[in-house]
C-alpha cells in the first residue's frame, strides 16, 4: 500500500516540482496537426509513458495526465467526442503505472475551446457539465489531484473547479492564463488577477496560480501580484518564452539557465508549486530540481 503523504502536506513542507510541457513534446515526437493529443493515450501509450517517465526521472514530484483537451466539448471539435471515457481513463492508467512511490499523478483539464456570449454560444452550465464528465473519469481512474489549467475565462475556470469539487474530495489546483497588456495582467476576457484569485478560492480551489501564454520572465511580477491576493499556496507554470519558427522548426527562446533563474525569482515572490509549460522539456526540470529544497 502506498503511504505517500497528501500533496497538500508536501506543498506546506517544500517547493513542489511539477512537469514541463506535454503538447510541444508530442509535436516534436510527430503528433500531426488535427490529431487530438489525447488519442495518443490509446495509439501510442508507450510514448506518453516515456514523456511522464522523463519528467519523473528529471525530478518532477507530479506529472499531468495527457488529458488537457480531453473534455467532451474539446474532443467533439476534433470529432473524437465519443472517446472521453476511453482517453481519460487510459491517460491516468498510463501515468499511474510508472509513477514512483512518492510521486503524484494530476488529472489535467484544459479549456473547452468554447466561449460564452457574446464571443461564443455556450452557457456556464455547458462548461459545468463538460468538466463534470471529465473530472468523473479522472477521479474514478485514481488521480491524486485535479489540475485545471490554461483557463482563458474565469467563468469557465470556476465551473470546472465547482464540477470537480462536486464529485470528488481530491485537491484542486486551478491555474489561469493571463496576458500582459499595457494596463497589466488580464485574461483575454478581461478578468483581473484579484477577481480570478477570489473567485477560484470561493469555488474551492486549494492551490491557485498561472500558466502558459507568458514566459517565465513576465511571470515573476504576476506571481508577486497573486501572492498579495491569497494566503493559499501558489502555482506557476510559465512557457519557455514565445515560440518562433526557425527553418520550419518551432523554437522556444528562453534557455534552461534563464528559465531556472526566473523560476527561482518566482519562488521568492511566493510560488510553492512550479513547473514549465510550452517549450519546457525535461532538461528544464532537471535544472529546476535544485529549487525543490529537499
Amino acid at each position: 500500500m502506498n503511504t505517500k503523504k497528501p500533496i497538500l502536506s508536501l506543498v506546506k513542507e517544500r517547493i513542489v516540482l511539477l512537469d514541463g510541457a506535454m503538447g510541444s513534446v508530442l509535436i516534436d515526437l510527430g503528433l500531426e496537426p488535427g490529431t487530438p493529443p489525447e488519442s495518443w493515450n490509446v495509439t501510442y501509450p508507450e510514448k506518453i509513458q516515456g514523456i511522464h517517465l522523463g519528467y519523473f526521472n528529471a525530478g518532477s514530484d507530479a506529472v499531468l495526465t495527457n488529458t488537457f483537451g480531453g473534455s467532451g466539448m474539446k474532443l467533439a471539435a476534433h470529432k473524437h467526442g465519443n472517446n472521453v471515457e476511453k482517453y481519460n481513463k487510459k491517460a491516468v492508467e498510463l501515468a499511474k503505472a510508472i509513477c514512483p512511490e512518492n510521486c503524484y499523478v494530476a488529472g489535467d483539464m484544459g479549456p473547452s475551446g468554447a466561449f460564452l456570449p457574446p464571443v461564443g454560444k455556450v452557457t456556464v452550465d455547458d462548461f459545468y457539465n463538460n468538466y463534470l464528465e471529465q473530472a468523473g473519469y479522472l477521479a474514478d481512474a485514481g488521480i491524486d489531484f485535479f489540475f485545471i489549467e490554461t483557463m482563458v475565462d474565469l467563468k469557465e475556470a470556476e465551473a470546472a473547479v465547482k464540477a470537480a469539487k462536486s464529485i470528488s474530495n481530491k485537491p484542486i489546483f486551478a491555474s489561469i492564463t493571463y496576458q500582459l497588456t499595457k494596463r497589466g495582467y488580464f485574461t483575454i476576457m478581461g478578468d483581473t488577477v484579484p477577481e480570478c484569485v477570489k473567485t477560484l478560492e470561493k469555488a474551492g480551489a486549494n492551490i491557485i496560480g498561472a500558466n502558459c501564454t507568458i514566459g517565465s520572465k513576465e511571470m515573476v511580477d504576476l506571481i508577486a501580484l497573486i501572492s498579495t491576493e491569497t494566503k493559499r499556496p501558489i502555482l506557476a507554470k510559465p512557457n519557455a518564452g514565445k515560440p518562433i519558427l526557425q527553418s520550419g522548426k518551432t523554437v522556444y527562446p528562453t534557455s534552461v539557465k534563464d528559465f531556472t533563474e526566473d523560476i527561482s525569482k518566482i519562488i521568492d515572490k511566493g510560488a510553492n508549486v512550479v513547473g514549465g509549460c510550452c517549450g519546457a522539456n525535461p532538461e528544464y526540470i532537471v535544472s529546476m530540481r535544485k529549487l525543490r529544497g529537499d
Binding site: I27, L31, E32, P33, G34, A77, H78, G113, F115, P118, V119, G120, T181, K182, R183, G184, F186, T187, I188, M189, G190, K242, P243, I244, L245, G248, T250
Partner: protein, 211 residues
C-alpha cells in the same frame, strides 16, 4: 447629442438596438449615407483603439463589432442599390486545416464585416482547397488564413504555393494571422502581410487593397 456621438455610444456600449435605430435614419433619408458610415467607422475604430490599449477585452470588442454589423446590415442594401460607391471588397477567411482555434479568426471576420467588407467565414479546420474554391466562387479580393499552432502554419505556405501553382496568386491578396506568425514567416512564404490583432488586421486589409 450629435448623430456621431450617438453612433459612438451605440458601438462602444455594444447596443445593437440603438445602432439599428441610427442606421434606419439613413434608410428614412434623415441622414446622409456616407456621413453615417463615417460616424460608425470612427466609433468602431475607437473600440479597436480601446482594445489595443487594454481597456477593452474580447467580450467588449465582440459586442461593438456585433452592433456595428447590425448597423451595416441595414445600411449596406442602400449601397448595393448603386446610389453610393463604398464597396470595400470580399474576404474569404478561415482557420487552416488541422487547427480548431477560431476565436482570433472570428474576431477578425467580425471586425472586417463591421468595417464594411463582405466576409465569407469558412470556420475552422478548413482545407487549403476550400479557401481557393470559395475565393474563386465569390470572386474575392482577399484571403485571410489563421493558424494558431506552429505545426499548422505550414498550411498557410501550402495555400500560397497552391495559388502560385494554379496561376492564381495575383488574383487575391493573402493575409495570414495567428499567435506565432512573424514578419520572417510572412516574407518566407510570400504572403501580403500579417497584423498583430483584429484591429490592425482591418487597417492592413484596407492598405493591401489600396482602399
Amino acid at each position: 447629442m450629435t448623430f456621431s456621438d450617438e453612433c459612438k455610444k451605440a458601438i462602444l456600449d455594444g447596443n445593437i438596438e440603438l445602432a439599428e435605430n441610427l442606421a434606419r435614419k439613413v434608410v428614412n433619408g434623415k441622414m446622409e449615407v456616407n456621413e453615417a458610415i463615417d460616424s460608425f467607422s470612427l466609433a468602431i475604430r475607437e473600440a479597436g483603439d480601446l482594445f489595443e490599449e487594454g481597456e477593452f477585452f474580447l467580450p467588449e470588442l465582440m459586442r461593438s463589432a456585433e452592433a456595428m454589423k447590425a448597423a451595416m446590415t441595414i445600411i449596406h442594401p442602400l449601397l448595393q442599390e448603386g446610389k453610393e460607391e463604398r464597396f470595400l471588397g470580399k474576404v474569404v477567411i478561415g482557420t487552416i486545416e488541422g487547427d480548431i482555434h477560431d476565436i482570433g479568426k472570428t474576431l477578425v471576420a467580425s471586425m472586417l464585416s463591421a468595417e464594411g467588407f463582405e466576409v465569407f467565414d469558412l470556420g475552422a479546420d478548413v482545407p487549403v482547397e476550400s479557401f481557393i474554391e470559395k475565393a474563386i466562387e465569390v470572386n474575392a479580393n482577399l484571403i485571410c488564413i489563421s493558424a494558431l499552432l506552429t505545426t499548422t502554419m505550414v498550411g498557410q505556405k501550402r495555400l500560397i504555393d497552391l495559388l502560385k501553382e494554379r496561376g492564381l496568386r495575383d488574383k487575391f491578396k493573402v493575409l495570414i494571422g495567428g499567435a506565432p506568425i512573424s514578419k520572417t514567416w510572412v516574407e518566407e512564404i510570400g504572403a501580403d502581410g500579417s497584423a498583430e490583432n483584429a484591429v490592425s488586421a482591418v487597417k492592413l486589409a484596407k492598405k493591401v487593397l489600396e482602399i
